[in-house]
């Protein structure tokens, strides 16, 4: 008889550490191939559409980047929070808070036109941070589980938003449950003529190295990593744990809020129920795939944006349902988590004799 068992490695495997995200994605694609076969399509052809159509033309590339921007922000938000072991599952709600603030400010007639875009950005930062501070305060003051509270607050803000959109904030012109459009002066500048490549994408590209700098080179990032690695030892060293968690939550929420500002200022010019197709949740997958490294978030966000854009092309060409994109997200997260186990444990195969 053969038995398998896990044995702790003396040191985490450095080789696995580096290649893990790639292995996890490869494993995901192999596992999901079964679904494509079930859908009656050719696996290679379907994957060709899924992974290549997002970069196959200028238009498609821009669309991929447009989707990558909010994913990069939510990925950064989660990466920062998870470093402090503040389990922020609420990037989705913080994104909506930022979007609502941006749409509200963008529609103010009394403000000078030039001030709208900067004010929308600041407003989204403040709103996202404020919404993220709730689970942090609950955790620090009352030891409320942050996973549960940050997750449930997503539903609170989502339904509060739909209630507003169906009532006082309903667009009087269209009559749909959408907010009124923001003013033309509030629309984010376009970086590339005749495309949707907006300011938000540039902001995401700037944010990632800044967050990296903060985590790696600033005293604050040092405290965040201390608290995340070992809160007990951090407290012993004199780090104010509660304050660090709260500041981490504010930064995390601000980043997620920026995702919302970009969606309102650059894409939709209003808020509506379908504003985010779960960018906040995909951010968790992205952060994990990036091993919580802010610079790694950029390629990871690009990859998932590629999958999302490619899924539609794949569906049109091969008939495989677009939902495959979401299966891939979930499977990638599972593969990554399993892979993390193997960086610290090795599998031993042994033959057993029964006697």
């Amino acid at each position: 008889m053969i038995s398998l068992r896990l044995e702790a490695r003396e040191q985490p495997s450095a080789w696995l550490n580096l290649t893990l995200p790639i292995i996890a994605i490869a494993a995901t694609l192999v596992l999901c191939a079964g679904l494509i076969v079930l859908a009656g399509a050719n696996v290679l052809e379907a994957y060709g559409y899924l992974l290549l159509s997002g970069v196959s033309s200028r238009f498609n590339l821009v669309e991929t980047l447009v989707k990558a921007a909010p994913l990069a922000f939510t990925g950064l938000a989660v990466a920062v929070a998870f470093r402090a072991k503040f389990w922020n599952i609420g990037a989705e709600g913080q994104l909506l808070a930022g979007a609502m603030a941006a749409a509200f400010i963008g529609g103010r007639e009394g403000l000078p036109g030039w001030s709208l875009v900067p004010l929308m950005i600041v407003g989204a930062i403040v709103a996202g941070a404020a919404w993220a501070s709730l689970p942090a305060i609950l955790k620090v003051r009352y030891k409320v589980d942050d996973v549960v509270s940050s997750l449930l607050l997503n539903f609170v803000i989502f339904y509060a938003m739909t209630a507003l959109l169906d009532g006082p904030w309903k667009d009087p012109l269209s009559g749909y449950p959408d907010s009124p459009d923001i003013r033309a002066a509030a629309e984010f500048p376009i970086l590339l003529a005749r495309s949707r490549l907006h300011l938000g994408i540039l902001l995401a590209l700037i944010a990632a190295p800044l967050v990296w700098l903060m985590m790696r080179r600033m005293t604050l990032g040092f405290s965040i990593r201390m608290v995340g690695e070992n809160p007990h030892a951090a407290a012993y060293a004199g780090i104010p744990i509660g304050r660090v968690i709260l500041v981490t939550a504010l930064i995390s929420g601000a980043l997620a809020g920026l995702a919302g500002a970009g969606e309102v200022g650059g894409i939709h010019f209003q808020v509506m129920a379908g504003l985010s197709p779960g960018y906040g949740y995909t951010g968790i997958v992205i952060a994990m795939l990036a091993r919580l490294n802010p610079l790694g978030v950029l390629p990871a966000a690009f990859f998932f944006a590629l999958v999302v854009t490619g899924a539609e092309a794949m569906s049109r060409a091969t008939g495989v349902p677009v939902f495959l994109a979401e299966v891939i997200q979930g499977t990638a997260l599972a593969c990554m988590l399993i892979g993390l186990l193997f960086t610290s444990y090795r599998v031993r195969v042994r033959r057993m004799h029964h006697g």
Partner: protein, 503 residues
């Protein structure tokens, strides 16, 4: 007729972890009635060998035989079935279960029903046989540490152990309790059990065992009858491969100024853990805190470290009163802190080594300016301390957790002593360290003393306290039961104070 096969035989055991060979062709033979002392420095491979015997690791090569029959220890349940039991340093008891319920854990009776009367009968039988008594209905959480250990031993016997492994069992006991444990172990051996005793305390090993096996760098370097050993220096030399000179303790220093004064300190759990502590430390002295673990040592250390709020009383450091102490204030006042749990409290093992040198000072100049860290300054500082304290590390940015226990403690000392503390708090600074690392730590404590600083040494090792301290205060149930001067300190008197006898 061939000789009977040995009771337990481990042949040619090899186990490799990455580049290190933790066990290299190790053989152990044990007969019924043997008490084997297993000695070795940390990292010598003792724990690995015992983990292989107890089924936690699979050996890369080698075999285990009991009464000549090869056995495969695939996990601890299998090991128990073959009669191998282990008492770990940290107990695995369910505090809210009774003694009897703890014994029955994992042993349901027939048909999924608990067999209480059967278990009770078996406990009586074992107790009578080995002279280990414990009331079956007491809650495990209410037992003293010594009694909890007895329960762990009973548990192993209850599960049918014929070979008992004890990992540093005396670390948590008073001298009196240790003597009682040895009596029980000797009785068990006389009844035909085999015992493997892992310890750092050479005196105990000489006192208790019949055989001694010494491991060094994964190799068995000696296997001798205890009767053939002349003194403990001989054992120490075999363990570390070279002769040891115990650190020189200078004669009585001239007492310096009062560096720390605790006045009526009450703290912890509404004042129950630490009560009305009055203690003065002068420059140039080492004051020891003796006591059985759990009598307020942790709270005392935490108060001085600034992490345990003081409920009443005053602290003065070098003449300055400290109100509402916290870690930042205490360190600024000149307290160096070596906490008991170096892996969990003193260091952050998941962070790079260099970072651990500045855990509490990363936000201060010169390590940080305008909120930005100066990696150069941090690494310079770390490199200097690593050199000064001859710490063995593969690099500045390796995960700190990969260092050996002795080197981790050196990192802690190197960090705390860099700031020339007026008072050094050292809680269990040598626990779990090997002989040469212990000597190094002792040297450092004595160096603080001769430089005119004060050391508060909290230890459960009486030998260590008697060797280093100028005065020893004994904690019992959160109060100072007595202070003994070095000149007229006797083990017996301190032992009695530790057990609660009034002086």
């Amino acid at each position: 007729m061939a000789a009977d096969p040995p009771f337990l035989a481990m042949h040619g055991i090899c186990k490799r972890f990455g580049a290190t060979l933790a066990n290299d062709d190790v053989a152990i033979n044990l007969e019924r009635g043997d008490i084997l002392g297993l000695l070795g420095e940390n990292g010598a491979g003792k724990t690995t060998l015992m983990n292989i015997l107890f089924g936690a690791y699979a050996p890369d090569a080698g075999r285990i035989e009991i009464d000549g029959t090869p056995v495969e220890m695939t996990n601890s349940a299998v090991a128990l079935r073959h009669g191998v039991g282990m008492v770990h340093q940290h107990f695995h008891l369910v505090a809210r279960h009774s003694v009897l319920e703890n014994l029955m854990t994992g042993r349901p009776g027939r048909h999924g029903l608990l067999d209480r009367s059967g278990a009770l009968a078996r406990l009586d039988e074992i107790s009578a046989h080995y002279g280990l008594d414990l009331e079956p209905d007491r809650l495990a959480g209410g037992l003293s540490i010594g009694e909890q250990q007895r329960l762990e031993i009973l548990k192993a016997l209850f599960w049918g152990a014929r070979i008992l492994i004890l990992d540093e069992p005396t670390a948590v006991l008073t001298p009196q309790e240790a003597r009682r444990l040895f009596k029980a172990l000797k009785a068990m051996a006389e009844k035909g059990m085999a015992i493997i005793f892992i310890s750092h305390k050479l005196v105990e090993v000489l006192d208790l065992t019949s055989h001694i096996a010494i491991l060094r760098n994964g190799l068995k370097v000696a296997d001798l009858a205890t009767a053939d050993v002349n003194n403990k220096a001989e054992l120490a030399e075999l363990m570390c491969g070279h002769a040891l000179t115990p650190p020189h303790r200078a004669k009585q220093q001239k007492a310096g100024p009062v560096l720390m004064a605790l006045d009526g300190i009450t703290a912890g759990g509404r004042g129950r853990q630490l009560h009305d502590i009055n203690l003065t430390l002068r420059g140039g002295e080492i004051v020891g805190i003796a006591g059985v673990s759990g009598n307020g040592q942790q709270e005392l250390a935490d108060v001085i470290a600034g992490v345990e709020p003081v409920l009443s009383g005053h602290i003065e450091i070098d003449g300055h009163p400290i109100t509402d102490p916290d870690p930042v204030k205490m360190q600024a006042a000149g307290i160096g802190r070596v906490p008991e749990d170096r892996m969990g409290t003193g260091l952050i093992t998941g962070l790079p080594l260099a970072d651990n040198f500045v855990l509490s000072r990363a936000g201060q100049a010169p390590f940080s300016r305008f909120g930005f860290l100066s990696r150069t300054k941090i690494e310079q500082f770390a490199r200097r301390q690593i050199e000064l304290f001859s710490i063995t590390a593969a690099g500045l940015n390796i995960r700190t957790g990969t260092l050996s226990g002795g080197n981790l403690q050196k990192v802690l000392l190197a960090r705390e002593l860099a700031w020339k503390p007026k008072v050094l708090l050292a809680a269990q600074p040598t626990r779990g360290l090997d002989v040469s690392a212990v000597d190094f730590v002792h040297e450092q404590l004595l160096a603080v003393r001769s430089a005119g600083g004060a050391v508060l040494l909290i230890s459960e090792d009486l030998e260590e306290l008697l060797q280093l301290c100028d005065r020893i205060a004994v904690l019992y149930e959160g109060r100072i039961a007595g202070v003994v001067d070095r000149k007229n300190a006797s083990r017996n008197e301190i032992g009695l104070l530790m057990g609660g006898a009034a002086s």
